[in-house]
Structures are given as C-alpha cells and as structure tokens.
Point group: C2
Chain length 220, copies 2
DNA sequence: TTTTGTTTTACGGTTTCCCGTAAGGATTGT
DNA sequence: ACAATCCTTACGGGAAACCGTAAAACAAAA
C-alpha cells in the first residue's frame, strides 16, 4: 500500500475525514494541507529529501482566505504537480458532478481517480485508493458519462461560439469576432449551419435550451 | 453539555466528521442517520422512550438514493421535527451560502445555528454547539451575499417562464402553456414585456444570456 | 494542371423574437 | 358612479435567427 500520501483539502471537516480514511487503511505517512500552494511546497520538499509522495488526494474548489495563493484551485495544483513529479498518482475528491468537467480531468489532466462527495464517499475513497495503488483508474460510480454517450462532441470552436452566445453576443457579432480572431469558419452562414447541426443532434429547438444544457454539463 | 444529539447527514465523510467533532466534545449519546425519514423516526422513538434528543444537527440537501423518502430534504425535516418536538434545538450544517436562504432558516424555520461547510467548519461546529447549549444563536461567520444584490427578484412566474425557455419552448408555446395552466398573464405580448423587463434590468441582450445567468445562480 | 470532393460563403425566404403604441379590463380612491 | 391608475392584451413594423440552395474557395488526388 502507499506509504506517502498528501491530502489537499480546504474544508476542515472533509480534511479530517480523508485523513481518517487514509489512516484506517494503515497508511501512516500521510500529510495534510489546507492550501494549494502548501501542497506544491510539500511535494517539492519531499522530492528534495528524496522521499517523494506517491499519491495526492485533492479537492477542486479552494475558497480564498487571508492567505493569497498562486495556485487558484485543484486543477492548477494538479497541473503543477504533474509537471513537478510526473509519476505522482492523483485522486480528486470533490463535489463536482458535471460530466464534462470530470471527463476532462481524466482526459486532459490525467488524474488516476475521482470520488464525488456524496452518500458513500468515504467507502468509495478507500476503494479508489486501493484501485489506484494497483495502477487502475477509479471512475466515479454514480456519474453518467453524458459526453461519451452523446452523438455530438463539443469542439473548442463550438465551446467558443456557445460561450459568446451566453455572453449575449448576436450571431452577427460572433461572426465578426471570429473573423477578427482568425478563427475559421467565421461567416454568419457557417455559424448558423454549425449551430443548426448541434441543435439537430440534440433535438434542441432554440439556443436557450443549448445554453442550459451546456451549463448543466459544465461545457461552459 | 448536551447528552443526546442526533446527526442527519447523507454524505458519509461529512457524517463521520460531525460525529468525531461531537465525540471530541465529550458527548457520548450521539446517534447518526443518513436519511431524513430515519432522523424523524429516531426523534419519535426517543420521545416515546421519554429520552428525547436535545439537539439535531442536519444537512439541507439530501441526495435521493434507492430508499424513497417522505421528507425531501433538511428543511422539511426541520419543519417536521419542530412540529413533533418544539423544544428541540436545531443546528444546520450545509454548503448553502445564499444569504436569503440562511436568513429564512433563522426567521421562518427558527433554527438555532448555522455552520457553513467551509475552511474552518469543524472548529466552528464545536463553537456553535457550545453556543446553542447556552441558548444562544449561532450565525454563520461569513455572511456572504452572493451576486444577488440585484434590482430584480425572480418571481415564481419568471422562473416558470425561464424554465420553459430552457426546455426549448418557443414564446408562442409558452403563452399557450400559461393559458392552459391558468397562469396569468398568459398573452404573448405580456410574456414579451416581462422578458424585456428582466433583460433590461440586467443589461442582457438575448435570452441565452439570461439562461446562462439563471443557471449560474441556481434559479433554474 | 485538371478533376473531384469538401468546406466555406453568399443570398433569399420564412419564422421567431423584439419593441413600441394603443386599446380594452380591472382595481382603487374619492 | 366616476376618474385615475395599473395591468393585460392586440397589433404592426423591424431586427435577429432559422433554413434552404447555389456559388465560390479550397484541398487532395490523378
């Protein structure tokens, strides 16, 4: 089992629980911090002392307090940690439940496991730690994988367009924006066609519905 | 100090922390449950055995699982508990941070304390229990007023309309829907006027922006 | 280079949405 | 009852979004 585990969690009560779960698994070399910057510092120090951490358990959302932080949240911490110590295993423990966000953690940030703060989270956390120790990924049990079972994948282009709509831009304005930023295609016609394609694949009738859907999924 | 405390919290890790905090205060007669209905049952049984609970610590949001519940959430549990046992002290432990919601808990539901799940929540929870034991109210330290210091309050009518837009209904369809459900005003013109008013007060240019805003705020 | 196929753009017609004006109804105060 | 005011509705012009079709631009292969 892991010997060196680092816990980054700003919420004190959650921090305590995670600690307890880890201890109950017989892991004694666990450290815990309440700030992202402290977490990265601990990782660095452990590397320097040639006794690196094997697993990082971290939250995603860290609330700002009187101590200004360089790392704004869990995702930044994960990126920085991976850069510092590529072999580090990462387990995310968060209340986030939007499929797109979680999927991106696995695909882009290359995390090893995700446990959502929910009913059986304590048990699941221990299971996840065991799985990751065996080099397996731990996907959240309850979460649907909406982005995977959907027909349409949102490209960066789509996301940009949808975001602009959600900001109140008209399609004509969006067309001009795309043109100005040399994003192709930029014509109003292409824009309409693209939106129509997205709407069609989801049976949406207006873009209000599209915005609501993307907000729920965490696409924007 | 309290002798009989009941903990209602569906999130296992949070439930464990609260239990630990309570135990650390020397309270041995604490029980814990994961469902609202179980909480009410425990309160009833304790009353029948003439050994009633003195304090209820409860979450607000309970996620549905395979056990169907009569009480949909913490607020319903609080109401039912107060009706069953008016003298029961109630401490809410939740992630909710909207000032209006918390204020309503104190004013309407007559709770004795509120601790928000945040950085120093474990310490604060113990402090709150002490305060309540001394018949004092415990208000949350961070009175966070969210973005909702705006001019416009969303009426149930507004919410219904916005929800229908987010479902992809056209304004004509919404007008027909309102008419069919005897919600007044129902005319297309009134609908347009109402939406225009909302948009104006927030400087929105289209209803996609409105949907995004409401999704962020949790209005829909 | 020519051919072939795909992507992007241009444009016209239709629907929906936006926004003003004015007329009808209801409510309140005198 | 009357007037004043507010709320609701009806209607019409204009803007934006929607949805075809066809032309133009581009890319890849022969």
């Amino acid at each position: 089992m892991f010997k060196r585990v680092l816990i980054a969690e700003d919420q004190q009560s959650a921090n305590i629980s995670v600690r307890k779960m880890v201890e109950d698994m017989g892991i004694t070399g666990a450290k815990y911090v309440y700030h992202c910057d402290d977490a990265l510092l601990q990782l660095k120090n452990a590397l320097l002392e040639d006794d690196p951490f094997e697993l990082l358990i971290t939250d995603l959302l860290f609330e700002p307090d009187d101590r200004p932080q360089k790392l704004p949240g869990g995702e930044a911490l994960i990126t920085a940690s991976k850069q510092l110590q590529p072999g580090l295993k990462i387990l995310v423990f968060s209340a986030e439940q939007r499929g797109a966000v979680i999927a991106s953690l696995f695909n882009t940030s290359k995390i090893n496991g995700y446990v959502r703060k929910a009913r059986r989270d304590a048990e699941e956390l221990q299971g996840a730690i065991s799985s990751i120790y065996k080099n397996k990924l731990h996907h959240p049990s309850n979460i649907e994988h909406p982005i995977l079972k959907n027909i349409h994948e949102f490209s960066p282009y789509d996301v940009a367009v949808i975001r602009l709509i959600a900001e109140g831009k008209s399609q004509k304005e969006i067309s001009a924006y795309l043109d100005a930023h040399h994003i192709r295609p930029s014509s109003l016609s292409s824009l309409e066609k693209r939106l129509n394609l997205i709407r069609e694949s989801y049976d949406f009738t207006n873009n209000g519905q599209l915005i609501a859907f993307c907000k729920d999924l965490g696409v924007i």
